[in-house]
Point group: C3
Chain length 453, copies 3
């Protein structure tokens, strides 16, 4: 399977264009904004959309009411909209209850949110679980308000309806799954998280219709309550998730940050490290912590799933976080494309990472007679031959190709190619750890498929 070679060279611009289409939609944890967003995704990949009724109990939580909004503003006495939802959907405290009233500035003030340190930016604030209403605005905007009465309107509804999420499931030879999850509840914020959902969509597009080792499940869900709802509905089957990653904030210029899964040394963690290392640019690995994105829920102690989180900037550590400055200027086509390449490389590692058994374990086999060794001795050895020796030496059933790549400091792909050559030459065979794996292999004739290119 070749993934990286098949990524469209113009993919960065495609991703950016898709993000731009979704940018204006006012999303929240429920409502039509989510549905419109999922429709956009569904036009690109097969997507099953679920609607979960308000009030459904999901573990310790209940599915909240559905929120929809048509308009919101504060009008001054002259009828001018001094704050206008139509201009920017961040202006409304997300999930605001409806209000329609003439109020003095005095009365309105407790419902206004600004960022005094960044007087030009509008903050993004939410109030999902305490009924409230409010407006977010730039500090300059607020400063300019004069005393007097204002016509305050939030034309929203909170109804007994549904929570909506989307799921793209690609069947592989194994029922073991790779989970890619991203939240779709943020309104006009580009990096967080249109970057995640556009890249996830593109990755799914890339995988659709391929012969895959693992099954792949892409979740497009509202943050927290969406993950909790999905986990509740799928609680019997989450054991199939062998590897997982949350994608968020992967469109801006920052270097990559990968937050490890709860165990800290899951295969996904090591695959990510290998790929980010091979990517050649600086990156940082973060230990798991229980605050962050939906890896919080996947990594709760009852589930303890091997799900990490790939980011560029880390939440809360950069000024644009949760403000109007996280806009389409903040994300870059080439960064979106690089994020997709990283994800595709991780898929390649997961698909190809196996243990092998050296069929000729006593001394080195004579590679020369098989055309795998240079014929004139005495000079330094080439990396490709070195890769063959490493794979032979460590293929004792206890080292995976990823182990070998780590120990040898050679690229995973070179190690994987070496394994393929050795297998073709009858020097190596896949080491099956269980009858299940052998069956999976028999079904898909996996070994040959994955070792050829």
């Amino acid at each position: 399977m070749r993934l990286l070679e098949e990524i469209d060279p113009g993919i960065g611009n495609h991703l950016y264009r898709f993000a731009s289409e979704l940018y204006p939609i006012c999303r929240s944890i429920t409502g039509d904004g989510v549905r419109q967003t999922l429709a956009g995704i569904q036009s690109r990949i097969p997507l099953q959309i679920s609607e979960v009724p308000t009030g459904t109990q999901v573990f310790d939580w209940n599915v909240p009411r559905e929120w929809n909004i048509r308009d919101a503003y504060i009008k001054d006495a002259a009828g001018n909209r001094v704050v206008d939802f139509q201009a920017c959907n961040l202006h409304v405290l997300n999930y605001s209850s409806p209000v329609r009233k003439v109020m003095s500035l005095q009365e309105i003030r407790p419902h206004l949110f600004t960022i005094p340190e960044r007087p030009e930016w509008v903050p993004y604030r939410t109030s999902y679980y305490r009924e409230d209403w409010g407006f977010c605005m730039s500090h300059n905007q607020m400063q300019a308000l004069t005393d007097g009465n204002y016509d305050v309107c939030i034309d929203s509804t909170l109804t007994q309806d549904h929570l909506t999420y989307g799921e793209c499931y690609l069947v592989g030879r194994s029922t073991d799954e790779v989970l890619i999850s991203c939240h779709i509840c943020h309104p006009s914020l580009a990096n967080n998280n249109l970057s995640g959902l556009t890249v996830a969509t593109a990755l799914a597009e890339l995988l659709v219709g391929r012969e895959l080792r693992y099954s792949y499940r892409f979740l497009f869900i509202p943050g927290t309550i969406g993950a909790i709802t999905w986990l509740w509905r799928n609680r019997e089957n989450v054991g199939r998730i062998r590897h997982g990653v949350v994608l968020t904030g992967i469109g801006n210029e920052s270097e990559f940050h990968y937050k490890k899964s709860r165990s800290g040394n899951a295969e996904i963690d090591r695959a990510m490290k290998q790929v980010l290392h091979e990517n050649g640019r600086p990156y940082e690995l973060l230990e798991f912590s229980p605050y962050g994105y939906d890896e919080r829920q996947y990594g709760s102690p009852g589930f303890n799933l091997p799900v990490g989180c790939l980011m560029r900037s880390v939440w809360g550590t950069f000024p644009e976080y949760h403000t109007s400055a996280d806009n389409l200027d903040f994300v870059k086509p080439e960064r979106l494309a690089e994020s997709l390449r990283v994800c595709a490389s991780v898929v390649m590692v997961l698909e190809n990472n196996r243990r092998y058994r050296n069929l000729n374990p006593y001394c080195e086999p004579q590679l020369g007679k098989r055309g795998l060794y240079r014929s004139t001795g005495g000079k330094p050895i080439e990396a490709e031959i070195n890769a063959l020796l490493w794979v032979l030496n460590l293929s004792d059933g206890s080292h995976s190709l990823l182990d070998i790549a780590e120990q040898s400091s050679l690229p995973f792909e070179m190690i994987h190619n070496a394994a393929g050559k050795l297998q073709e030459n009858g020097l190596l065979s896949v080491f099956y750890e269980s009858a299940d794996q052998a069956r999976e292999a028999a079904a898909g004739n996996i070994a040959q498929v994955t070792s050829r290119r």
Copy 2:
């Protein structure tokens, strides 16, 4: 239980005053100096005093004779005391056999001990196990001696009598013990070890009469032979010692040094590290070594007890060590007080360090509906909420609160408070590792007591 808040703000001066009272007493490994010292301690805390007869075999050793001394001097021909025990009890080689003789300077010289590099200081020397006599003096003092005859007198006795030690035992809910041990055999040396015994006494005072999880045993014993004697007499019960620390040299200006127990990762070692880290000043952790103070005996391979050693300056590494410069100027009230606070903090960690079980382990519980979460989303999270999330995430029965404090880099007390809040809200319960623990808990209703403040 609140310990730190109940430490008298003037405690440093109290400790210093107590040290000053004990300073003039001429202590040794046996004798009335030890008894007077124990009497001083007994006036503050309940103390059981033991007398062990000379000659008693204690493992490979025998309890030595009792040493007492009335006077000692070297008089010149004119009758002037050129060295005088009355001026400073360090002047006599500690445990000297008696002598009364007129001798030439030539004959006396092999019995004189000085520190040429510190010509003003008197060294502290001992001869417990080889019968000998001698004088310690400043190098200047010795240089000033002129040839001629001197009247040499050491009016000491070595008799078949007793070795004396004191023990303060505070009963807790569990028979598992915390051992605090300090040596009381040094004469007028302030830091080593009046600092240790005054702080140990104050810690015992602080704990007397409290509802405690562990039982606490404070030992005031002569170094080496005292520890060996105590271990011999209590050899059947030392398995109860779950945590222990030797206190010595904790009154001077140096930063803290904690020498780990023999295993190197006992709970006491980790509790000490946590507390010294939270103390906010530099500190150093030292690996266990078989030389040092009585942790040598507690950590002998047959016992292998989890007993570390808290010091400021490390033995043998500073010029004042074992000299007359280790006097009352060398220790400082505020350093004694800080050492007590550190010890009390360690007690708090040991008392409260438990494993808990998250009763709602699938996804996060909804903290907001219990008033434990901020209601407006979108801003960075507060440390207290973070502590709740950490405790929930790691309370899987395999992580203690100390583990959680380490992993989260949050203060132990904040983690402990979070556990208390979660327990009050029915989200957490103590995880009992054995029937014993559950019984202990039932007896003391421990969970509630320790989670409230």
Copy 3:
């Protein structure tokens, strides 16, 4: 047993002289050059020489034909030898097939090997497994060749004959073996590997006739095919190899490099580290890799033997590697001597590294009454006493003397001496891990022998 003290102070010169004698011989993987070299070794130590017939299958390989060479040259039209094997045996591509032909420079060129970056040096090249002929020469030499015809002669033979290797086996009390292996297939190259084989010979000379704990096996074999052949013939017994090291390139000025065995923490690895550390000069430890010298074969996954590799410069990392500059000027008598001392020290560690049991494990024994402790207390402790305390504290059956040397940072010999003193005083006994070991000990009265000096 004292080894280091018995090394001749002039050993460096002896080693160098032996290397000089062997330098002119044209060795290869088979043939009379190998036989002459082994004869030189056999004149110093008992050596069993094996001849293995051409064509014998050894694992995945076959023993190659025997190569011998009488002469080789390229003569110009005037009859001058422009390249002459008689002047330097590196001039012939090692293992060249015979050729005798008049050829144009054009035709000859593809068979010429030079090093353009080092125009004065002749490279060392081989062609064992693809039939070929060629000449190696300095780049200057090649540049000087003018167009025209040349008389090309390689007067070699490749015959169905034998592969030859030598083996020196010294019987110890145990059948467990220490393997010292070095390759003898390189022609006039001094550091690689006359240094290895002369030091190995001297180490064997030093051990001959001694009472030894382990049996020692010295292999003088052609690289790769020799190790494979030996392993094939001894495949049933290699399990006896408890420790092993390949010696190569240990005569030049570089600091030591020790490449660890495949497991990375075998006793030989730790013994080497200890000895190189105590040697007091910089050194470097390298992780195992499957490329290098014959540790590749010993460390193939089917054998996985604890065999490391001691070098000074690492193959391929210095310009003289595999060139005529690796000559007798490149190796130094004092470096050869130091390498022998390091090897002898490693033997001392392996011979003496045992676990002991403290017979008095409860508290410290009273060392003073046995004359093992200073009598006047109060001063810093001496390293020798500290060594006694360390051995007592860690002799719980789970720590070897090497463990104790590592933990205490004291020299291995001091730790070993301390164990001897404690054993003499009845405070320590050898801890036998198996009936086999006890039997070995009973046979050789090992404990006493090794603890005395």
